[in-house]
Subunit: 435 residues, 2 copies
C-alpha cells in the first residue's frame, strides 16, 4: 500500500466486465467529477479482468485497460480496491481471497461467495486491516447490508420477510395478473431477459436462499449457511392456486423468511400466501422488498429493484465510495466485533403455520369426512373449506382447505395419509400462509 497522506487518486481493479461490470466501469468513467467530489480525489479504473478482450461490450473502454490475467489486477501494486463482479464461486472465491490477502480492499456483488464464505472472508479482511463490502450481493440497489450492520444495530430482530428474487416475482406477478400457468409465464420472463435459459437457480429458490443466508447471518448474529435454508421453488404453482388465493384475500409470493424461534433461527424460502392488503403483496414485477421486525423500530420495509445492471452498479459504486473516502483521508476501516451467537437452525418439521391445501377428490359423499378425520386425528383444525368444482367426466371435484395453525410435521403426515385414501386422487398444492 502506498503512503496514504498525499493521495492523488484511488485506483480500482475490476474482475469481470459483464452486465454489472460494464455498468460499474461506465459509472466510474462517466461520473468522474461527481465521484471525485464525494471522495476528495478521483477514482481511476486501472485494470479490468475479462475472459474475451475482443468481445463487444456495452461500455467503451480503452482496450489497454483489459487483461486476461488475474495477476495483473490482484498482484498490481497500484490497485487499492478490487471489485469482483464475476459471479459464481470459482474463480471468484480464490480471487477474493488473494485480493484480501495481498492487502487490497474488496467490493463484491457475489451472493454465492458471500453466502457460503462470507464470515471467513470478513475475518480475513479484518486480519489484513482491509475492508470487505458486499451491499450489492442482496437486493441490487436497495440498501440492506448497511441498514442491518448499522441503522438497525440497536434492535433485537425477530423476523425478516423478503421478496428477494426478481425473476420469480416477475413470473408470479404475471401468473396472478393474467391467469397464466407457470411454464407460459416463465417463457415470457425468458424472452424479456428476466429469466435465464436454465432458470433453476431462480425458480427453485437457490438464489433467494443465498441472499437469505447473508441477511439472516447479519440479522441474528449467527452463521447461517445456504444449506441451512429450507427451500421450495415455484414450479408446482398453478393458475388455479392464484385464483383460489385471490378469492380468499391472499396473493402468492416466493418469500424468504428468517425468524427467531425459541432461541433458534428458522430460515426458509417457499411460496407463501400473504394477505392482499399487506405491502409485500403489492410488490410486483421485478421489484424486491425486505420487511424487518425489530423490537425497537417495529416494522420497516426496504423496497426497490433487486437486480439489473444499474441498480447493482448503484450499490457497488456506493461501496467503492465508502472505502475510497476513508483511503483518501488516511483513515482505517472500523472492524466489526465478531458476535457469533452460535444459534441452532430450527427444523422445518417443528414450524407452526397455517396451510392452504388444494386437492382433487372423488366427487361422492363422505370424502370430506374422511379427510377431516385424518386431519383431526393429527390435531389439525380446518379453518375453512373453500370451494368444490365437480368435473363430471372424471367424477372428481376440487377441494380447497385452509387450516388453523398446525405443526409442519403433522401436516406432512396428514398429506401422506390422505394420499393413501382411495377418495383422494391428487394433492395438487399445499402452500404455507404468512400473516
Amino acid at each position: 500500500m502506498r503512503n496514504i497522506k498525499d493521495r492523488k487518486e484511488i485506483v480500482i481493479g475490476l474482475l469481470g466486465l459483464g452486465v454489472v461490470g460494464s455498468g460499474v466501469a461506465q459509472a466510474i468513467l462517466e461520473r468522474k467529477d461527481g465521484l471525485a467530489g464525494r471522495v476528495g480525489c478521483p477514482l481511476r479504473l486501472q485494470r479490468v479482468l475479462v475472459r474475451h478482450p475482443d468481445k463487444p461490450r456495452a461500455v467503451s473502454l480503452d482496450t489497454g485497460l483489459l487483461t486476461t490475467s488475474a495477476d495483473e489486477v490482484l498482484n498490481n501494486p497500484e490497485v487499492d480496491i478490487v471489485v469482483e463482479l464475476m459471479g459464481g464461486e470459482d474463480p471468484a472465491l480464490p480471487y477474493a481471497r488473494r485480493a484480501l490477502t495481498s492487502g487490497k480492499h474488496l467490493v463484491t456483488a457475489n451472493k454465492e461467495v458471500m453466502a457460503k464464505h462470507g464470515p471467513e472472508l470478513v475475518s480475513l479482511a479484518q486480519s489484513k486491516g482491509v475492508e470487505l463490502r458486499y451491499e450489492a450481493s442482496v437486493g441490487g440497489g436497495i440498501p440492506l447490508i448497511g441498514p442491518f450492520m448499522g441503522d438497525l444495530a440497536a434492535n433485537r430482530i425477530s423476523a425478516v420477510h423478503g421478496i428477494i428474487n426478481g425473476t420469480t416475482n416477475y413470473i408470479l406477478s404475471r401468473m396472478a395478473a393474467e391467469g397464466l400457468d407457470f411454464n407460459i409465464a416463465l417463457k415470457a420472463a425468458q424472452e424479456l431477459g428476466y429469466a435465464e435459459a436454465d432458470p433453476t437457480n431462480d425458480v427453485d429458490g437457490k438464489d433467494a436462499a443465498y441472499k437469505l443466508a447473508i441477511l439472516a447471518t447479519l440479522a441474528f448474529n449467527t452463521r447461517v449457511r445456504p444449506e441451512d435454508v429450507y427451500r421450495e421453488g415455484i414450479r408446482r404453482l398453478t393458475e388455479r392456486d392464484f385464483r383460489y388465493a385471490g378469492e380468499l384475500g391472499y396473493a402468492i409470493k416466493l418469500l424468504a423468511i428468517a425468524k427467531e424461534r425459541e432461541g433458534a433461527v428458522e430460515v426458509r424460502v417457499h411460496p407463501a400466501l400473504v394477505p392482499q392488503e399487506s405491502l409485500l403483496a403489492k410488490v410486483s414485477g421485478a421489484y424486491n422488498a425486505v420487511q424487518v421486525e425489530g423490537d425497537l423500530v417495529g416494522q420497516v420495509i426496504f423496497y426497490g429493484l433487486g437486480a439489473g445492471s444499474r441498480p447493482t452498479t448503484s450499490a457497488v459504486v456506493a461501496d467503492v465510495l465508502a472505502i475510497a473516502r476513508r483511503l483518501y483521508q488516511g483513515i482505517g476501516p472500523v472492524p466489526r466485533p465478531t458476535q457469533d451467537t452460535g444459534r441452532a437452525i430450527a427444523p422445518i418439521s417443528r414450524l407452526s403455520a397455517r396451510y392452504y391445501l388444494r386437492m382433487v377428490v372423488a366427487d361422492r359423499p363422505g370424502v370430506l369426512a374422511q379427510i377431516s378425520r385424518v386431519l383431526g386425528d393429527l390435531s389439525i383444525s380446518i379453518a375453512s373449506v373453500i370451494q368444490m368444482e365437480a368435473d363430471e367426466v372424471s367424477g372428481t371435484a376440487e377441494l380447497v382447505l385452509m387450516t388453523r395453525p398446525a405443526l409442519e410435521e403433522s401436516l406432512q403426515q396428514a398429506l401422506r395419509e390422505m394420499q393413501d385414501l382411495g377418495a383422494v386422487t391428487e394433492i395438487a398444492s399445499f402452500i404455507r400462509v404468512e400473516a
Copy 2:
C-alpha cells in the same frame, strides 16, 4: 479527550429525558451486554440533563445521574458522546454548538435544529474532528440519512416523495377510511396522543418542511432551508374531497416533495392526490415512507414508523453505536467533502402539475362554459369534469374538475378570475396531483 488506546468504556451524556430520552436511557441500560458486544466495550450513561429531577419518568434511573446543569454534561471531561433529545431550537442549538466546540461527538434527533443549522453544525464538527449524527431527525427509526449519505451516493437523485409526518397521515387515513371531517379526525388523533394539543406544527406542514429541508439538502448536495419549502397544511381538506378522489382512483396524502427542475430544486409540502395503486397511497396510519428516484438505482422506498419513543430510540442508539465503535478502535471520523452545489430554489409559480378543483357553483345553464373559458384563456385544459350534485335549497351544484398539466401561476390566476364570476359561489379545494 482521553487516550483512545485503552478504552474500557464509552461515556454518554444525555440532554433531555422526555419520551425519547427515556427510551434511549432505557435501551442503553437494558441492552448493556448486547451493545457492549457490538462496540467492544460498554456504554456508560454518565449524566442526564433534566428540567425537573423529581418528575416521575418511564425509566428508572439512579437519581445521581440526573442534573439540572447543562455544564455537568457539556463541560464534563468524561463524556465522549452528547445525545441531544430536548427538541426545539433553544437551548438545544447552543448546547449542540457547545458540545461540538468542546470536542464531544453529538447525536441528535432534533429536526428543527438540523433543518435550520445543520450545515453550520456539520462544519463545526468537522473542524473539531468530531462526528455529528442525526439519523433520528427524519423518519424515526427508518434509515434515511445513512442511505442518502452512503448507499445512494453514486446516484443523481431526481426526486424524493415522502410521507414524513405521522400525525397528519394518521388524520388523513381516518378521514379516508371513515369519512370523517378534519376536526373530528384531529380530535381522535389528539385523544390517542398522535397529535398535540396545539397541532399547528403537524397539520400546517411545518414539521414535514423541517424534515424535507434535511433530506433535500442531502439528496441534492445544496443548502435547502425550511423557509425555502413551499407549504400548505391539511386543514382545508374535507370528507367530500376524499370521496371524489376515491372515485377518481386517488388517495389524498400530505406529501413532502423535493425534485430537480431545470437545475434548480423544487421543495414543497402540501396535500396531493396520489394514484390508489401506488405504494405511497397504501401507507396508512402513523407510518411514514420515503420514495427516492435515482438515475442508477431507479425507485427505492423506505417505510416504517416515523415517530415514537421506540423507533426514534432505534435510530439514536444506532448513531451512538457507530461513533462508539470508532472510538473504541481509536479511529477518527471520516469527514464528508462539502459539496454545496449552490442550486437555486425553483419557485412554486413555475411548477407544472395537474390539479383537482372542487367548487360550488350556481345550478344554472352556462356556468361550466364560463369556467371553461377562464381556464382555456390561461391555456389550462380540462381532463375531466367529474360530478355535479345539485343542492335544490341553495340553488347550487358541486363541480369537480381535473386539469391536464398546467402552470401553477396560471392556475392561481384562474382561481382568482373564477372567484370573480358571479356563478361561482366558492372554490372549496384545489389539490395538486402527483403521478
